[in-house]
Amino acid sequence: MIAYRPRDVVDFAIIGAGAAGGVVAKELAAAGFSVVLLEQGPNFTEKDYSHDERKFMFDRVLTNNHRQQPNTFRVTDKEKAVVQPAVGYGRQVGGGTVHFTGNYWRLHPGDFNERSRWGAVPGANLSDWPITYEELEPYYTKAEQELGISGLGGANPFDGPRSRPYPLPPMPAKGSGVLFDRAAKKLGLHSFPAPLAILSQPYRGRGACANCGFCEGFGCEMRAKSSTAVTVIPAALRTGRCELRTGAVVSQIETDALGRVTGVVYFDARKASIRQRAKAVVVCANGAETPRLLLLSKSARFPHGLANGHGVVGKNLMWDTGMLAMGLFEQPLNEYKGVQVTRVLHDYYDSDGKRGFFGGGGIDARFDWYPMGFALDGLPKDVPRWGSGFKSFVGEAFTRTMSLCGHTTCLPVEGNRIDLDPAQKDAWGLPALRATFKNHPDDLKTLRFVLDRQLEILAAAGARRVWSDEVKDVAFSVHLMGTCRMGNDPRTSVVNRDHQAHEVPNLFLVDGSSFVTSGRQQPTCTIQALAYRASEKMVAWARRA
């Protein structure tokens, strides 16, 4: 791997080697630019992974550690935020693509102009995207082909047109998928094979999924999950122009008197502060850490934080909204084997004026419980929490349960935001991330509506018993969107349609923070399509500059 010196002025410094950062690093390095890719987490390989539920689910090996990097949370501005885990993300090379479920949905064409199609929603900051589905389509295709996505093009009647089929056939339906298909048919709904960032067959030097089952929340020991850690990041390093630095916690983006970015400051693994100079900076630190970093990067020129002249940075935070419903069946499904999800439906995806509220959702059939999690959190509320009744229910239900997961609209609300906590600090002495979040009332109505559809489908599938949680405001999220939204108007958005900060020409922001609306969750496919598109724009910009 090439090594640059901190005083070398590299073409691009990229912050965050996750879903977007990995793609950007590969594209820029392949186009001939010198790149330093900075990642706060470690670089794991398949040798570091195992099926140890206690270690990976309870010690948060692969995700942000709230002891080191606490966040604070409050529902509204009236309260004092308290330390309470509210944002979760993958914290290593590959970011959230290492341990994610791999659901890889494109947005629908109609997701890009919901504001024009439905009008304003009171209390929400609903806007159109500055780009269209047609503009993004080639980059969706590029992401699918380059990263290795399984699916069946055309099987979802609500999807937009696609220029190429998926490079790999879909994974076969598991028991949950078979029951879901059956119920959908009965109800006149359109289930289709889940598009997944998981290889159903060998592809570009990686092997096919072995159905090991320890997938969501775990790293893939087979390299079959198409994370950026096993796809584009190794490709970026092979160009000989990209240097990856891990254990690098970026604390500041520096600017000169003209308001142009000059480089980044980070703590290395020994907590020494290092300044890397760069001609341009790309922030790919995700929808929570990207706005935090901008707010940390105050200067005389940018007293309210970098690129925050209009106070938009951090606002319009959108979260992972959707509920799980469980169904218990007569016979064993053994859903703990195989990938989590094999079937999806989008019949309730778009808004519908007749419902009386804004929003909709997709539903997938899945099982994302492991033994401890299921026994501790997955059971119906009226099953005893201990004793012989508990023991016998868990014994019967683990192999006979499947879940339907709803993925629903989270409306952008200006007051929902990421900013800096005035008191709490992280292990590096930096102000902690503070999240303020309360769902728009329509989000809760959407949750209720979609949950009722989930319960209907489970009943139609023949479940003996169904259960779910209560509908309530979301207080923890792994989908982090909207906090540096893209747009044409510098007063209401942070980056332009090419992901360039309105206020800083050599600063680009590309990740979940760019989203204008939430779609129906599953943001990663769109994050990566945006990253391919943004990279092309950055290459053109850099060649001009």
Binding site: V178, W386, K391
Partner: protein
């Protein structure tokens, strides 16, 4: 009969050797508190038709947890066990320890403990369930009895059909 110090020491060695034979030694617990915590765990996942927390050796998982990743819960266990003993003396004044309560009395005690020492109860409940299902290398889930109980087969490679409904004959 007066027992010499040397004999006492020998009895101690035998007792430890006997304990070691049936299971590895404890690192955090002393033998008495291990027995008491094990009694609580055995009420959370009872034995019966199939092995429970006791047969799974969950107590060894808990011992390891308190020695390593949940070391910060030691004071909670110490305080909680003392509360459980106070409760036992209140409910069953003639009893000697938790381990010798009959199962009906133990359940009664647990129901009260769940309300009165909720934090401790929850800690032992979580540890017992974790220990029952954790990788056996942590000391519990001996012979994979936890996984067997729920029908989980371990493996790194599975071939469809996985269950009843995705098998071709299910149609």
């Amino acid at each position: 009969m007066k027992v010499s110090r040397r004999e006492l020491a020998l009895i101690g060695v035998w007792a430890r050797a006997e304990a070691a034979q049936s299971s590895p030694s404890f690192r955090f617990f002393d033998a008495a508190s291990a027995r008491e915590i094990e009694a609580i765990a055995s009420a959370i996942i009872p034995s019966g038709d199939s092995p429970g927390a006791r047969e799974a050796g969950v107590i060894h998982f808990i011992d390891r947890a308190l020695e390593t990743f949940d070391r910060d819960q030691r004071p909670l266990y110490q305080r909680g066990l003392a509360q459980a003993q106070t409760l036992r003396r209140r409910l069953f004044p003639a009893s000697r320890d938790l381990a010798s309560l009959n199962s009906a009395d133990l359940i009664r005690l647990m129901e009260t403990l769940e309300k009165e020492s909720a934090e401790f109860f929850e800690a032992v409940r979580v540890h017992t369930i974790m220990g029952f299902f954790a990788d056996p290398s942590y000391g519990g889930n001996r012979d994979q009895v936890g996984w067997r109980h729920i029908g989980l087969t371990t493996g790194h490679h599975f071939t469809a059909p996985f269950g009843y409904y995705d098998a071709p004959e299910a149609e």
